[in-house]
Amino acid sequence: MGSIFNAQQIVNGLQVGSIYALIALGYTMVYGIVRLINFAHGDFYMIGAYAAYGAFYLFNASLGGKTGIVAFLVLAASMAASGAVALLANKLAYKPLRYKPKLSSLITAIGVSMFLEYFFSALPVIGPSYRSFPEIIPRTDITVGGAIISNYVVIDIAVAAILMVSLTLLVRKSSLGKAMRAVSQDKDAARLMGINVEKIISFTFLIGGAFAGAAGLLAGMTYPRIFPYMGIQPGLKAFIAAVLGGIGNIPGAVLGAYIMGLAETFASAYNSLIGEGISFAILILVLLIRPTGLLGEKTADKI
C-alpha cells in the first residue's frame, strides 16, 4: 500500500481542493459583505450541476461533435443558472431582512436551502434519485510518477485557477472591486461615498453563485453523478474551508480549501470514518484555537 501521502493522494487532494475553493469563495465573499452564512450556497452548486446537465443535452444535440464549444456553453450555462438563483434568493429572501437581527437571515438561509433541495427532488423532471453525468469532454488518463492523472484533474484545477485569478483581478483592480471592498468595510460610509450598496451586494451574490455553479459542473464531470442533495456535504466542507482561511478573506478561502481538500483525501485514505469526521475536527480546532482563521484579522467586541 505504501504511505498515504503519495503522489496520487496529493493530486486527488488538489482536485477536491479546487472544487472546494470555488464554493468557498462565494461563502467568504457574501460573508465579507453582508455577514451572512449563506446556507443555501451549497445548493447553488447543485443547481449549477443540473443546469450543466440540461445544457449539455440541449447544446450537444445541435452542436454535436464540437466538444470545445459545447463545453464552454455548458460552463456558461451552469454559471448563469446558479448566479441567477443566487440573485433571486438575495432579492426575495435576504434583502427584506438585511437590517433585522442576524439570526433571522441565517434561519431564512436554512429555509432557502431546504426549499431548493426538496423542490428539486419533488419536481418530476428532476426527482430525488441519482443521475449519471454525461462525459462532456472525453476522459483520458496519463500516468506521471506513479500517479494516474486524468485530463479532468487538469481541467478542474485549471478552470478553478482561471476563475480565481480573474476574481482577484476584479476585486483588486477594478472600480467595482474597490466598491465591494468599501461595502465590506463599512456599509454606511460606502453609501455616503455614493456607492449603491444594494447593487454591490447583488453583484457579490451573482459572482458567488456563478462560482458555485462552475464548481457544480466540475464536480458533476469528476464524480460523474448528480442528485438534489449533492450540495449539502461540499457546501459544509467549503464553509469550513472559508472559516479555516478566515471568513471574509478571499485568499484565505482558497488556502483553506486546498488544506481541506488535502487533509480530507489523506484522512479518507487512512480510514473512511476519520475522513468523514476530519473536516468538523478541523473546524472545531480552528474555532477554539484561532477563531479568526489562518489569514483573518482579530476583531474585538464593540461596546
Binding site: I107, G111, M114, Y118, P128
Partner: protein
C-alpha cells in the same frame, strides 16, 4: 409568586389527559390519532428544550436531534440489548425509566462536553459547530455495528404509551418552565438580551450557557428515548439535520422564548405534517400525477421562510419571555 400557579397547571394537564383518555376508550379517537398525539407530545419536549437553549438563552443550536439520538440509542441499547426487557415482565417499567433517564444523562453529559468549548463562540459560528456535532453523532451511530449500524437499532420493546409520554412531557415542560422563571432562567434571558451587559453585572455567562445547553440536551435525550420506545426502533436518519430544522421551525412558529407557543406549534405542525402526508398521497392517487412526499418538506421550507419574513415573532410572540422581565422590574 409564579410558583403557586403549578397546581393550576397540574389540574389543566389532568383534565386534558382525562379527556383524551376518555375519548380514546369511547372510540372517538382511534389508535392512529392517539399515535400522532403521542408523537406531538414528544415533539413538545423537543421544542420546549430547544426553546430553552435557543429562545431563552439565545444560543443558536442546529444539532438538537443529535442529543435525541443519543437518548434513543442509549436507552434503546439498555432496554433491548442489556436488560432484554419486555413490558409483560413485572417491574420492567422501573428499569425502563432508569434507561430513559440514563439516555437523558448521557445526552446531557455530551451536551456539556460539546457546550463547554463551543459556547465561547457566537451566533452563526455556534450554529455551524452544533450542526457539525449533530452530524458527527449521526455518523458514529451509523458506524457502530453493535447498535445495528446503518440498519438502525431494531426490536426495541414498546414501553412508551400515552400515559407514560403524557406524564414525562408534563414533568419536562414543568421543569423547563420553572427553570425559565427562576433566577437562573433570568440570568439566561439576560445573556440573550445582551451578553456583554450581563457579564458586566456579574453573571457567569459561560456557566449559564453551558447549563442551559446541557439541560436542553438532557430533555432532548429523554424525548429521544421515548421516541425509540414508541416507534420501536432507532435509526441514524431519524436524528439528522433536517429533523433538527423541523424542531427549529416549531419554536420559531410558536414564538421564540414562548413555551405555550412551543406546545401549540409542536401539536399543530405534527398534525399538519401528517395531514400533508395523507393529503399529498390522496392527491397523487386521485390525479395519477407523480406527486412525491418531498412536497411536504417544500411546504415546511416555505413556512420557515414566510415566518421569518412576515411574522418574525411567531404565533404567540415574545410576550412570555417579556412578562418575566416586567415582573422582575416590580
Amino acid at each position: 409568586m409564579t410558583r403557586f400557579k403549578t397546581p393550576k397547571l397540574l389540574i389543566t394537564a389532568a383534565v386534558v389527559y382525562g379527556v383524551i383518555q376518555a375519548l380514546y376508550s369511547l372510540g372517538i379517537i382511534n389508535g392512529y390519532i392517539l399515535h400522532i398525539i403521542n408523537q406531538s407530545l414528544i415533539y413538545v419536549i423537543l421544542a420546549a428544550s430547544l426553546n430553552l437553549i435557543n429562545g431563552i438563552t439565545g444560543q443558536f443550536s442546529l444539532g438538537h436531534m443529535g442529543f435525541a439520538g443519543i437518548g434513543a440509542y442509549v436507552s434503546g441499547t439498555l432496554t433491548t440489548l442489556i436488560f432484554k426487557l419486555n413490558p409483560s415482565i413485572p417491574g420492567s417499567y422501573l428499569l425502563f425509566i432508569v434507561a430513559i433517564l440514563a439516555g437523558g444523562l448521557v445526552a446531557a453529559l455530551v451536551g456539556f462536553l460539546i457546550g463547554f468549548p463551543s459556547l465561547r463562540l457566537k451566533g452563526d459560528y455556534l450554529a455551524i459547530v452544533t450542526l457539525g456535532f449533530g452530524e458527527i453523532i449521526r455518523t458514529v451511530f451509523n458506524n457502530i455495528e453493535y447498535v445495528g449500524g446503518p440498519r438502525g437499532l431494531l426490536g426495541i420493546p414498546k414501553f412508551s404509551n400515552f400515559t407514560v409520554i403524557f406524564i414525562v412531557t408534563f414533568l419536562s415542560v414543568a421543569v423547563i418552565r420553572n427553570i425559565i422563571q427562576s433566577p437562573h432562567g433570568r440570568a439566561m434571558l439576560s445573556i440573550r438580551e445582551n451578553e456583554l451587559a450581563s457579564e458586566l453585572v456579574g453573571i457567569n455567562t459561560t456557566r449559564y450557557k453551558v447549563l442551559s445547553f446541557a439541560t436542553g440536551a438532557f430533555f432532548a435525550g429523554i424525548a429521544g428515548g421515548l421516541f425509540a420506545h414508541l416507534l420501536q426502533l432507532a435509526h441514524p436518519t431519524q436524528f439528522g439535520f433536517s429533523k433538527s430544522v423541523e424542531i427549529l421551525i416549531m419554536i420559531y412558529a410558536g414564538g421564540v422564548g414562548s413555551l405555550t407557543g412551543s406546545i401549540v406549534a409542536a401539536f399543530a405542525l405534527t398534525f399538519l405534517s401528517e395531514g400533508l402526508r395523507l393529503g399529498i398521497r390522496a392527491l397523487a392517487d386521485a390525479t395519477g400525477l407523480p406527486i412525491g412526499g418531498e412536497w411536504r418538506m417544500v411546504i415546511y421550507a416555505l413556512l420557515l421562510i414566510f415566518i421569518m419574513l412576515f411574522r418574525n415573532e411567531g404565533l404567540m410572540g415574545t410576550k412570555e419571555s417579556k412578562v418575566i422581565l416586567i415582573e422582575e422590574a416590580d
